[in-house]
Symmetry: C3
Subunit: 341 residues, 3 copies
């Protein structure tokens, strides 16, 4: 691609030779001659100086100090994403159903599906148009998968699960396993509560690797449109995750929680059961949420408090041992009459 | 089912039309006409008012305010579990061994087993009567699985593992992988300690999805009768988990721990190696257990302390920055002679 | 093996009958007559007293109180590892490629490989000499695996991944899934950043079960020589983990982190994105690392501080509620003029 074509694609402002040929995209440290890279922030100008790249995408405000061809854009990350799409278009694959898969005769396969070897598709399942099942995928009875969804290798989808369009589920993830529900019976023994509900995953959801989403006891566990879940996340039975919410790796959401829209959670956050989290909440990594959180706030800590309070408390914490000594000293001073009079 | 039959089944006290036909069980918000739901607590009476359900199971003490047919019971959750069993009996499946599985000729299969496509069963393995292996299950050499156990899709069971009767293991779980054991050799390099022990899982254990239980270095990692483990849990080499203990998702137990009977752990708890935990201990979510815990107590925090102390300390923590200021003010007052005299 | 042979193998000092026949190795509590065990530390002398073992490996400094045949060695754990290797040599298996696997015609298989049933090997993949792929392994297109590597059941390796020699990857682990990268577009919707980089795993790395290592957005996620990762770990896109570093279970490393050499992390540690961690750092279990860590130090807490400071602060924390009361009392005393004069 010529630089002028890239600039047009990204709706950018070009500074440099418009006829320059760019044949690849790479990181600022890895980029070689003929490649374009991203300057995400002014602070990396030093790295750019040493880079062998031939061109760079930079934020509008970086108006100095770049001794390379530059395309200035409003949102460099977005431009970079578009550039990667242009340079690495998804490989066109031929539709096929491997004879080494095991697809039930009562399953319905859409047009242009790809079903790799070692896939199992159960009775009454439906796979939508142009969806892909990689090797080792298990699709239980009566599962519905929409169009253009990609299920990566060794994913397990339990019977009755409903998955929308343009969903991606990465390897090892488990959808629809039993919720963790027991009651103690008259003999004091733990008895399993049958888990007869299901999981519904709406359109445009992306789920990472080795994540678990449990089926509802009755009713539904529902992951709404546009949710993005990272790896190794636990979503327990009967939860609802609101539209466009995002969770980093190793988050754990207990049973019957309702998470609002556009909520963002850092890694390793834990949420107790039956908690409601308002829209646009942000929860810092490793926080523990014991009870409902009001919308549009930032929380941190375990148990969670406002992020500012948490930060100040954590900064103060190492001073506590000294503080105890100081208070003891003050007490002594005051106990001795006349000492500080 | 008629309401009078349900009442009889649950040993409840019926108020309303005994001949009413009930054709389903559902959540309080989802239930429709002709369905029965659960009122688990008085505080949900408001939701019940708006529910379209025809009948409700309620605790004995809820003696007012229900404008529906009611079955009063002592333990509503237990009653609900029984009702779900009655309305959703496990589907009867025909025993079969798929020709698309790979079962060793030296393996022993019990009566009425179901072995789905893409299953691998190694040399000398034994599968008990009416046990089920879902697609993608790997059963290593010389594994023993008892009767009526269900191994869900894509579970991996390493050679030599012993699994009891009526055990359920959910998808993606790994049983018997190597313990994490290394020693530093004379050259300062980490050398693997061969992991030659095994995992034993006793009767009536249930294990969630994507959980890991490592084999012992030598001897056994043992999960005792009735233990319930949720998803994404780590049990390291040489641990023993005592009878009827319960762990929520993402708990991590380090090597050589001994956990007592009826211990309950919240989600994301971590336990250091070689720790002994007494019977009937409860550990709050996200706690970190650095050393032995005495039985019958409730612990919280990282490192764990008594739950009450932890709670008070956490409530006090946000006041710490102010406290530091107050002490500084006091010090100033006292340092200046005559100031507060 | 005779005791004198074992002593020779371990370069130890033998005390007892050199002709004694030892036929097994076992734990101190499990060992029976004819077996040898390990006394790792003097404090277990009591357990040794009750053990039925016939011989024991003990540290040089334990020069008294052992009423058994003893082999004194400098490093008992290392000796024990060697002994296990001698007593439990890896089973010799016949090389084979199962006809029930699906290996692409364009894949290259080395000498002496073992490929079990239900394995998938994609186009252009290379499997080195004497490497093993257990059932259910997925090897994507153009993956390179070196010599003598063992990939356990149901591991998923995405296209383009490079794996070195003598690498072990345990069941359920996912290598090369998409990094978790999104940008918000002009319509305010989250747009996926194509993840076109790869994962490189160098020689002598061992990875536990159900761990996830994401591919780089562009460039590489790299796990350097000799790294040991436990189970259920998350390594995000574009990270580098330095030589011989070790991470316990459930650690989570966010995107673009650079971890130094010989770093050790306890279980459930979390590291924020773009963090650099120096060589020889130790991070205590459950810590949260928000920013760069200087080398050769021990850290703890969330956010991490020096381990000593953290320990003192945690010991002091339960005293905080009392401290608040004390300060209030002091304030009252001082507020009232003449009270303490």
């Amino acid at each position: 691609m010529k630089l002028k074509e890239i600039s047009l694609l990204l709706n950018g402002r070009l500074q440099g030779d418009p006829e320059l040929e760019i044949h690849g995209v790479n990181g600022i440290e890895e980029a070689m001659e003929g490649e374009i890279t991203l300057l995400s922030h002014k602070k990396y100008l030093g790295k750019l100086g040493k880079s062998k790249c031939s061109a760079v995408i930079a934020p509008l405000e970086t108006n100095a100090g770049i001794n390379r061809a530059v395309i200035y854009v409003k949102n460099p990350y977005l431009a970079f994403a578009r550039l990667l799409e242009a340079f690495y278009p998804p490989k066109e694959e031929v539709p096929h159903v491997s004879p080494r898969s095991a697809v039930s005769e009562s399953a319905t396969l859409g047009n242009g599906v790809r079903i790799y070897p070692m896939v199992y598709v159960g009775d009454g399942a439906t796979i939508g148009d142009r969806s892909v099942l990689y090797p080792g995928v298990y699709v239980g009875d009566n599962v519905k998968i929409g169009d253009q969804s990609v299920i990566y290798a060794n994913v397990s989808i339990y019977p009755g699960t409903v998955i929308g369009n343009r969903v991606a589920i990465h390897s090892g993830t488990v959808i629809g396993s039993d919720g963790f529900g027991y009651v103690v019976d008259e003999q004091g023994k733990r008895k399993k509560v049958p888990q007869v509900g299901r999981v519904v995953i709406e359109d445009d959801v992306e789920i990472g690797a080795n994540t678990c989403i449990d089926r509802a006891t009755i009713g539904e566990t529902r992951i709404r449109k546009g949710v993005k879940l990272d790896n190794l996340i636990q979503i327990a039975h009967n939860c609802t995750i609101g539209e466009d919410s995002v969770m980093a790796a190793q988050v754990g959401i207990s049973g019957s929680c309702h998470v609002g829209k556009r909520v963002m959670m850092g890694g390793q956050v834990g949420v107790a059961d039956h908690v409601e989290i308002g829209d646009d909440v942000m929860v810092a990594a490793q926080s523990g949420v014991p009870s409902d959180l009001e919308g549009k706030q930032i929380y941190a800590g375990s148990p969670t408090i406002g992020h500012g309070s948490w930060r100040r408390a954590q900064m103060a914490l190492p001073k506590l041992p000294d503080l105890i000594k100081k208070v003891r000293a003050l007490e002594k001073l005051i106990e001795k009459p006349g000492n500080n009079a």
